[in-house]
């Protein structure tokens, strides 16, 4: 928990009259797993979108690996190794799962000629199948991704993100809509990705059991503002967090 990978400083974002984020500051350490919780509509997804470049922020600064990224475009940020998954899954619906995986391979530092290489080399293919097997989609690998169920698409999206091997992965509700028996597997795999590949994780999650298990540090948003921060135990016992969730304000 030494180096800071992502540093968000005083970020504000308003949509028309609605202040979605107000003066939010947080840090994600290199190699850590950080959670972001908060009631519905508290501005979590807005913050995610601001970080990865879906809309401009009104004020503040976002630094990734020491570099200011709040003015960059989505793809530029992604190529720096900061990736997100979506709450509503986004996969390539008219391609089969293997192809979905193959194109998700990191082309971060790819030269142009690499685009004209064959679609799959043995190493990529092996890794793609391995990841598909892990998320339980191996038997579905030749189905069109659009024909999968929502939960399966969610798992595919996770596998695609892992395939990319980012420096930091931002997950928007990774376990929502997933079969409860698989949730533990997802937690394990996320932890595995974090430990084995050193992928830093930043996770939005509503499932308290998941986030308390997973994260080393948790931030809680409410009404667009940072409400509390700390270790899972600290946040769990913080009366303000309980209030925010139970609506007693």
């Amino acid at each position: 928990m030494s180096d800071v990978l992502l540093q968000v400083t005083d970020v504000s974002k308003a949509f028309g009259g609605v202040q979605a984020n107000r003066d939010i500051s947080l840090t994600v350490p290199q190699g850590g797993i950080v959670g972001l919780i908060g009631p519905n509509g508290s501005g979590k997804t807005t913050l995610f979108s601001s970080i990865v470049g879906y809309h401009p922020i009104d004020s503040g600064s976002i630094r990734f690996a020491g570099e200011e990224i709040s003015k960059l475009q989505v793809a530029q940020i992604a190529r720096r190794g900061l990736l997100r998954t979506f709450q509503q899954t986004r996969i390539y619906a008219n391609m089969d799962c293997v192809k979905n995986m193959l194109i998700s391979r990191s082309l971060r530092r790819a030269k142009l000629t690499e685009f004209f290489a064959p679609q799959s080399n043995p190493a990529d293919r092996e890794r793609a199948l391995e990841l598909l097997e892990f998320v339980g989609l191996y038997s579905k690998r030749l189905l069109m991704a659009g024909d999968l169920s929502f939960g399966q698409q969610k798992l595919l999206e996770l596998a695609m993100a892992l395939m990319n091997g980012p420096r930091m992965l931002m997950l928007d509700e990774p376990t929502a809509g997933i079969n409860p028996t698989l949730i533990n597997g997802v937690i394990d795999r996320l932890k595995g990705a974090n430990e084995q590949f050193g992928i830093t994780l930043f996770v939005i999650e509503h499932n308290m059991r998941v986030i308390m298990n997973l994260a080393q540090q948790i931030y809680c948003l409410s009404h667009g503002q940072l409400l509390a921060a700390g270790t899972p135990d600290e946040v769990r016992n913080d009366p303000r967090v309980l209030d925010a969730y139970l609506g007693a304000q």
Binding site: G53, Y54, H55, P56, Q73, V74
Partner: protein
């Protein structure tokens, strides 16, 4: 080209003449653009046959005056005919593509535009036609500025039509249904509005607007089977600049386009006037997209 610019600067009356004539035709552009925005906003369809409806209206006026009707009377006739055509087209084609992706509507209406174009060419021949409305020309500033009366009449008629249209959309029950459907078709359906009928009326109404405009075009300017596409492109450009549902913006953009086109035609030579219109479309779109990209967005 530079010579022409210096003429414009040296002789402001020429400039004024161009601008006035441009504004007069610009009103026509604005009205057709308003029709396009109506269909686009309510039905989520970009009607590429917009210009062909205009030209069709023009040919109806041509045919009816040739048959002996007084020109001014042909305006409602042309509007009625294009209204009926729009209504039929909606149930034959458009109703099947309303829910499909926007490109399908672009391609399907493009096909319709080709059919209309070729029908006009086969029936009326490929010559340029004009309808003589029997009006003279007004001179201002000691004869330096010449404006034909029919253009002024067309301008005034366009204003009246636009006013009627706006009042219709605001006040009438059908107008309210149209606006409700534009905001939320599902909710409108739940509330008992027959959205398919609303769509049919919207499409037909737009066709009628175009038909009336076309009849004015035939009297004040010229018509030709293949000149529909420029009208479509102008409408599209105006809507893109002004945005959907922005009436003052549409009027301003329409008038501005008319004036700009006339001046460009003078500076570059009339053979490049259409090239200017189409290039301007590309420039406008690229510029809009560039503006959006700075906000991390894009035209879609």
């Amino acid at each position: 080209m530079l010579d022409n610019i210096s003429i414009l600067i040296a002789a402001p009356t020429i400039t004024l003449d161009l601008v006035i004539n441009g504004l007069l035709i610009g009103a026509l552009f604005a009205l057709t653009a308003y029709g396009m925005a109506l269909v686009w906003g309510v039905m989520r369809i970009i009607n590429v046959a917009q210009g062909e409806f205009v030209i069709l209206g023009g040919y109806m006026t041509y045919a009816l005056t040739t048959a002996g009707l007084p020109p001014l009377l042909t305006i409602p006739c042309a509007a009625a005919i294009t209204f009926a055509l729009g209504y039929v087209l909606h149930y034959a084609v458009i109703t099947r593509i309303v829910d499909r992706d926007l490109f399908v509507s672009v391609l399907a209406t493009f096909g319709i535009s080709i059919v209309i174009q070729q029908l006009l060419n086969t029936v009326f021949g490929g010559d340029v036609r004009v309808v003589d409305a029997g009006l003279g020309t007004q001179f201002f500033m000691g004869g330096l500025i010449a404006v034909s009366e029919i253009k002024i009449a067309a301008f005034l008629l366009v204003c009246v039509l636009a006013l009627v249209l706006v009042l219709f959309l605001k006040r009438s029950r059908l107008g309210q249904a149209i606006r409700a459907t534009a905001q939320n078709p599902r909710a409108a359906r739940v509330l008992g509005i027959d959205t398919n009928r609303v769509y049919a009326m919207t499409f037909a109404l737009n066709a009628a607007i175009c038909g009336a405009c076309g009849s004015l075009v035939a009297m004040a300017y010229t018509i030709h089977p293949y000149i529909g596409l420029p009208y479509t492109i102008r409408s599209f450009m105006i809507v893109v600049v002004a945005g959907l549902g922005n009436l003052p913006g549409v009027v301003a953009a329409g008038l501005g386009l008319g004036a700009a086109e006339n001046i460009a035609g003078f500076v570059l030579g009339t053979q490049f006037q259409l090239a200017f219109v189409f290039s301007l479309l590309v420039v406008v779109l690229v510029w809009r997209n560039w503006r959006l990209s700075r906000k991390r967005q894009y035209l879609k």
